[in-house]
Amino acid sequence: MNMNLYSRGDKTFVWLNMFLVTLFTLSTLYPFIYIAAVSFSSGFAASSGKVVLTPINATMAAYNYVMNEPQFWISYRNTFIYTIGGTIMSLLFIIPGAYALSRPQLYGRRFWNLMVAFTMWFNAGLIPFFLNMRDLGLLDSYFGIIIGFAVNGFNLILLRNFFENIPQSFEEAARMDGANEFQVLWKVYLPLSKPAIATVALFCIVSRWNGFFWAMVLLKDDDKVPLQVWLRFIISELQDDEEFSSTLVDAAYSFETVSAAIIVCSIIPVLLVYPFLQKYFNKGILLGGVKE
C-alpha cells in the first residue's frame, strides 16, 4: 500500500498506533533490563531500592558469588542433562509414532488417534501421576524425569499433521526401489520435515529448560535438581528474608542481586536459541493450530 494515500487523520492514527505498540514493547522489555541492572548493582544499592534502569555502583560481586557456588554448576549441568536427554527421548518416541499415525493404511488408525487425543482432554491429575511415578520407581532419578514427560499429545499431532500433508508422490520412487517403512521415514519424510521436527524439538527444549513443578515434586536429592528448582529455593530465601528485614544490606551482594544474577544466567541460553525458535514457531503454530 502507498503512504501517499493516507489523509491527515490517518497519519495521526499511524503515529498513535506506533506509540502504543512501542509502549507495550517497552513494558515487556523493561523487567528484563531491570533484572539485569539489579544483578550488576551492589547489594547495598539493590537492597535500598535505588536501581531503576542502569546498575548502581556496578559490580560483578553477585556473579562471583554465583560462580563460586557449587550448587549453581550442579543444577546447571542437570538442566543440560534433562534438556538434551529429554528432547532426544521425545523425538525418539514422537517421530516414529507420528509417522505410523499418519499412514492411511494403519489398521485401527481412528482408535490410535483417539487414544492420543483423549489424553489431551482428560488428565488423571497430579496425585495419580505422582503415585504412578513412585510405583514405577522413578522418584528422584534422572531417568524418571527424562522418560516421564517424553510424549506430548500436542507435539505428536503437530508432527502427524505435517507428515499427512506430504504428497504420496514423494515416496513413490523409494517404494519402487523396495524401501521399507523405516527407510521411507528416514530417507523421504525426515529430510522433507526439517521445519516441523525443528519446531517440535525447540518446543521440547524450551519446556525442558523451563520445567520446574515436577522436578520440584519428583526430585529430592540436591545433586539432581535442575536450575529452576535451585533458583526457586534462592528466591524463596529472598522472600523469607524480607519478613525479617534484609540481613545483608552492606555487603557487595545481596539476595536480590544474587537471584537476579541467576535469572540472567538462566535466560541467556534461551536468548541464544530464540532466533531459531522464532524462525520456526510461526510455522509450528499454524501446523498445530485450530485445524488439526
Binding site: 503512504m3 494515500l5 493516507y6 492514527f13 499511524v14 498506533n17 506506533m18 502504543l20 505498540v21 512501542t22 514493547t25 515487556t28 522489555l29 528484563f32 531491570y34 537492597s47 535505588k50 536501581v51 518416541f93 514422537i94 516414529p96 509414532g97 505410523a100 499412514r103 494403519l106 489398521y107 487414544m115 487425543a117 489424553t119 482428560f122 488423571a124 491429575g125 497430579l126 496425585i127 495419580p128 501421576f129 503415585l131 504412578n132 514405577l136 510424549v151 517403512e181 523405516f182 523451563n210 520446574f212 513443578f213 529452576q228 528466591i235 522472600q239 536480590e256 537471584s259 535469572i263 535466560i267 534461551v270 530464540y274 525458535l277 522464532q278 499454524l286 485450530v290 485445524k291 488439526e292
Partner: protein
C-alpha cells in the same frame, strides 16, 4: 464366522504393516504406562488409600471423600477462587492479543514491526520461576521498583504479595504480560489471510485506516476470535497453578488458593492422597465436560472440529 474373518484380517494387516506397529508401539506403551495407568489409579478417590496395601487392595469408601471435600471451607474456597481467577483472566486477557494483532497489522515500518514482535513474544519462553522471581523483586516493599515509585510519589510502600486484595490483579496482569504477545500470532495469521482486494476497494471508496481496521480486518478474523474464545472456555479450569505456587503465601491463600494448589498442598505435601485424588477427579471431570461442550459448540459454529 465374522469373528474369524476379522481375526484373519488382523493377522494379514499385522504381517503387512508390522513395521508401522513397531514404530507406533513405544508411543502406545508410553501412553498406557504414564497417562492411562494413572487413570486406573484414580480409583483411590473412592478408597481409603494406604501406601502399604497399594491401590487395588485398599478398601472402598464410596463417596466419603467427596462429602469431605464439599464440607471443607478451604476446598470450596479453592473452587471459587479457580472460577473467579479464570473468569477475570478471560475477561481482561482475551481481548489484549486481538488488539495487539490489529495494532501490529497497522504498522507499516517492517523493521520496527519485526523488532516489536520479537520482543513481545519472548516472555512466553521464559520459565515461570523466572517470571515469578521478577514479579517478587519488582513488587518487594524494600527493593522493588513499584514501591520505589510509590514512595517517590509520597505514599507508604505496600507489601503487595502479602495483601489478599492484590494477589489476583498481580497474577492476572503477569499472565497477560507473559502471554498476550505470543497469543497474538494466531490472529496475525488470520489477518494475513484476509483478501487484499477488500482493502483496495475500501481505499477507492475513501475509507480511513481506522475504518478499515474495524470494518474489514476485525470482521474478517471473527471466526478465529470465536474459535479461540471457545478453546479458552474449554480450558477455563486450567489456571496456571505453577505460577500461583510461586507467588502465593499463607497470607494470600484466601484469594489465591485454587483447586490444583490445594491438591498440591493436601496430597503431595500433606500425604492425603485419596482426598486430593478425589479433588483432582472432580477437576478433571468438569474440565472434560467443558472441553467436550466447547468442541461441539465450535463444530456447530464453524463446521471445523477443534481436533
Amino acid at each position: 464366522m465374522p469373528d474369524e474373518t476379522r481375526f484373519q484380517r488382523v493377522l494379514f494387516v499385522l504381517r503387512r504393516d508390522w513395521q508401522l506397529y513397531l514404530m507406533l508401539a513405544p508411543t502406545v506403551i508410553w501412553l498406557l504406562l504414564f497417562l492411562y495407568k494413572p487413570m486406573y489409579g484414580l480409583q483411590i478417590a473412592f478408597k481409603d488409600y494406604s501406601i502399604f496395601r497399594g491401590i487395588a487392595a485398599s478398601p472402598w469408601v464410596g463417596l466419603e471423600h467427596f462429602h469431605t471435600l464439599f464440607g471443607s471451607d478451604q476446598f470450596v474456597r479453592a473452587v471459587k477462587n479457580t472460577v473467579i481467577i479464570s473468569a477475570f483472566s478471560l475477561l481482561f486477557g482475551f481481548p489484549v492479543p486481538i488488539l495487539l494483532a490489529l495494532m501490529f497489522n497497522e504498522i507499516l515500518h517492517k523493521t520496527f514491526k519485526k523488532t516489536a514482535q520479537t520482543i513481545v513474544y519472548l516472555p512466553h519462553f521464559i520459565s515461570s520461576v523466572i517470571i515469578a522471581g521478577i514479579v517478587i523483586t519488582a513488587f518487594s516493599p524494600s527493593v522493588g521498583i513499584i514501591n520505589y515509585l510509590i514512595s517517590w510519589l509520597g505514599f507508604e510502600p505496600i507489601y503487595f504479595l502479602t495483601k489478599p486484595e492484590w494477589f489476583r490483579p498481580i497474577f492476572i496482569g503477569t499472565g497477560i504480560w507473559q502471554e498476550a504477545g505470543f497469543s497474538s500470532i494466531v490472529y496475525l495469521a488470520a489477518i494475513a489471510g484476509v483478501s487484499p482486494t477488500l482493502y483496495e476497494s475500501a481505499v477507492v471508496d475513501g475509507a480511513s485506516r481506522w475504518q478499515m481496521m474495524w470494518k474489514i480486518t476485525l470482521p474478517s478474523i471473527m471466526t478465529t476470535i470465536i474459535i479461540m474464545l471457545i478453546i479458552r472456555i474449554g480450558n477455563l479450569l486450567e489456571v496456571s497453578f505453577e505460577m500461583i505456587i510461586l507467588l502465593y503465601q499463607p497470607a494470600t491463600f484466601e484469594t489465591a488458593d485454587v483447586v490444583n494448589t490445594w491438591i498440591y498442598r493436601q496430597g503431595l505435601q500433606g500425604g492425603q492422597y485419596d482426598l486430593a485424588a478425589a479433588a483432582g477427579l472432580f477437576n478433571a471431570v468438569v474440565a472434560f465436560v467443558l472441553v467436550i461442550a466447547a468442541n461441539s459448540l465450535s463444530k456447530r459454529y464453524s463446521r471445523t472440529s477443534l481436533w
